[in-house]
């Protein structure tokens, strides 16, 4: 089902031309500009593939990071259907375990790869990457930016709530709008943007760097630059419970992608696991999309979110059960029920407190972890920092990693929020422009100092404490 009306988003204006795709031979209506898995979801398809052991799988992250949505598209297996756009006449089939490429398939060759040259290559077009692009270009560098998603803005494109911070940092503006503003700014500043392009490796290349990539699942590309900024964001965490792989157990972000980016109703009744910012904001957004939220459960004794976001859903009648967790999902091929229970002081479920809800979606909002795969492959030193929610790379006060010329910004440098991701993007962008010898040293140093001050100010309150501790651990002095 598609959403036609929404209190703060206008979908009908955004939808592209109608096209037809074929799912297991059956025609399905879709819109140009939307990915395959999302179009299938709108048509009621929840099971996208079966594991080698035959368990059904559906969407989970919806941003190309988890491989839960792999399907066969026009005969080619292992296509990430959540970020691959529909094309008229496309044939889509459920994949059963590991399937081979068709015999007559000719893979592309590296010698034919398209070559792009710039001073700075930015991987990731979210708040950090875009801001890095804007700033690096402003300081005189030639910038190329690649992102594997079909739209710019990263996770901002699904954030319909207004942001905190100062007004010069877009406070009071909805995330979706911020995405439009900074994407426009990056284009205006001449950043060379490549969407639907996945970076697959970062390599030394003489004095510079080479980033290898694949465009639209088939075309090979090489990006040559003197510096690289990695702003690859984060991915959702999973928690263990019975049947947590059942289609309908979605990452919170996937539900936001469906309803806020593509205007697709994610389900009818939802249980949310996790009362951090993501969980309670998701609950509010579901209400706005006309979806019933039966409850938000949180294992901790307190709501982890900013209180005001929790208050928004409480006054509209959504219960938050702290000290509760999910025990299991139930259903045949897709979620039909969720069972929750209260936890005792040793985090053990208390027998007799189980409650069962008829829901078709279980939303997991149990945290994010930084996406550092490319940094790791490139050899940057990584350490585990609990306060930053996972393995992160060490960096200096210009966000340069242990590999000279490779910078990091945004959630891939530690989980925080979009406002700080934009500030880190600014910092990395200016620092990289300085590194490649394009920036005016005095101007660059002054602006970096201001950005550092803004970051310190934002992080100076009680909510910034975790980040402050985390930063202390990763910082190279």
């Amino acid at each position: 089902m598609r959403l036609e009306e929404h209190p703060v988003i206008d979908f009908t204006r955004k939808r592209g031309k109608k096209v037809t795709i074929y799912f297991e031979g059956k025609p399905i209506e879709a819109y140009e500009g939307e990915p395959i898995a999302e179009a299938l979801h709108a048509a009621g398809v929840r099971v996208l593939n079966f594991t080698p052991k035959g368990r059904p799988r559906g969407l989970f992250c919806a941003i190309g990071k988890c491989s839960s949505c792999l399907m066969k598209v026009n005969g080619i297996p292992n296509v990430r259907t959540c970020i691959t756009l529909v094309e008229d006449g496309m044939k889509v089939e459920r994949q059963h375990g590991l399937e081979p490429l068709p015999r007559d398939y000719k893979p592309p060759k590296w010698k034919d790869a398209e070559k792009i040259e710039a001073d700075i290559i930015i991987i990731g077009g979210g708040p950090a990457g875009l801001m890095a692009g804007v700033k690096a270009a402003e300081h005189g560098a030639k910038v190329a930016l690649l992102d594997e998603n079909p739209i710019l803005g990263g996770q901002l494109v699904k954030q319909t709530h207004k942001f905190f911070g100062k007004r010069e940092q877009f406070a009071g503006v909805r995330g979706v709008k911020i995405a439009e503003i900074i994407a426009e700014e990056a284009k205006k500043k001449g950043v060379d943007i490549h969407l639907e392009t996945s970076a697959i490796g970062i390599f030394p290349n003489g004095e510079g760097k080479l980033v290898t990539a694949v465009k639209k699942n088939k075309k090979l590309m090489e990006f040559y630059g003197k510096a690289v900024i990695v702003a690859t964001g984060a991915m959702e965490k999973m928690i263990p419970f019975e049947n947590n792989d059942l289609p309908g157990v979605y990452g919170a972000g996937a539900i936001q992608t469906l309803m806020n980016t593509y205007g697709i109703q994610p389900g009818k009744r939802v249980l949310i696991v996790g009362a951090g910012n993501v969980g309670v904001i998701l609950a509010y957004q579901l209400l706005q999309a006309g979806v019933e939220v039966v409850a938000v459960v949180e294992a901790m004794p307190k709501v982890g979110a900013y209180f005001v976001h929790a208050a928004k859903i409480r006054r509209l009648g959504i219960p938050i059960y702290t000290r509760h967790t999910i025990l299991k999902a139930e259903g045949k091929e897709k979620v039909e029920r969720a069972v929750i229970a209260q936890l005792d002081d040793n985090w053990k479920p208390i027998p007799g407190t189980e409650k069962s809800y008829d829901v078709d979606i279980i939303a997991l909002a149990v945290g994010l972890r930084p996406s550092i795969e490319l940094l790791h492959q490139a050899g940057a030193q990584a350490i585990y920092v609990r306060e930053l929610s996972g393995y992160v790379v060490r960096h200096d006060d210009r966000l340069e990693t242990t590999i000279r010329g490779i910078f990091v910004a945004g959630d891939s440098s530690g989980i925080e929020e979009a406002t700080t991701a934009m500030l880190e993007g600014k910092l990395a962008g200016i620092a990289a422009a300085l590194f490649v010898g394009k920036a005016n040293v005095k101007n660059a140093m002054e602006e970096m100092e201001k950005v550092r001050k803004d970051l310190d100010e934002f992080r100076s309150g009680p909510f910034g404490q975790r980040t402050r501790i985390g930063e202390e651990k990763v910082m190279i002095k």
């Binding site: 208050a311 406002t419 009680p462 910034g464």
Partner: protein
């Protein structure tokens, strides 16, 4: 204030009084006055930045907003812009009170509509009448804002509405 409100997800009126002094009855009768329900030190400043008369003090971005009720002119810009939807206005008018609140749900009620009043924990506590609607395109914060007339005894309880036709 202890942080028990964080296990509940809502504030009681006594807790609100602990974070911010409430306006005097005399002030409440004069004209609308903005009252924030923003208990945590969070990095957020739009309310104090947008206030046209400098009535909202916030020495650093992580400080809680404190409204100078004598300076406040009741313009509702803070209600419109607040990213946490945590600002409300209260105005006593005879036997009734007028509550100004954000409303980001469909349908947006019309002036004159009777609506169900909800308290901070989402319980239905009575009915009120919509007396003013600032639609989304007229709101500086992209958030529709309603002013709802409620029985005066619900002035410090009613903080959201449910539009009657939206009920199943």
């Amino acid at each position: 204030m202890n942080d028990e409100y964080l296990s509940r997800g809502y504030l009681t009126i006594d807790e609100i009084k602990e974070i911010t002094e409430l306006p005097s009855e005399e002030r409440l009768k004069k004209k609308p006055v903005a009252v924030p329900e923003c208990p945590q030190e969070i990095p957020c400043t739009p309310c104090s930045e947008i206030c046209p008369v400098g009535a909202i003090s916030m020495p650093t971005p992580n400080d809680r907003p404190i409204v100078d009720y004598d300076k406040c002119i009741g313009c509702s810009l803070c209600v419109q812009i607040c990213p946490g939807l945590a600002f409300f206005m209260v105005h006593y008018k005879g036997e009734k009170a007028r509550i100004t609140m954000p409303h980001e749900l469909l349908p947006v009620p019309k002036r004159g509509d009777e609506v169900i009043l909800l308290n901070r924990k989402g319980e239905e506590i009575g009915t009120g009448k919509v007396v003013l609607v600032i639609p989304r395109d007229k709101s500086v914060g992209d958030t529709p804002v309603l002013t709802v007339e409620v029985p005066i005894e619900l002035a410090w309880e009613a903080r959201a509405v449910r539009v009657k036709e939206a009920r199943e």
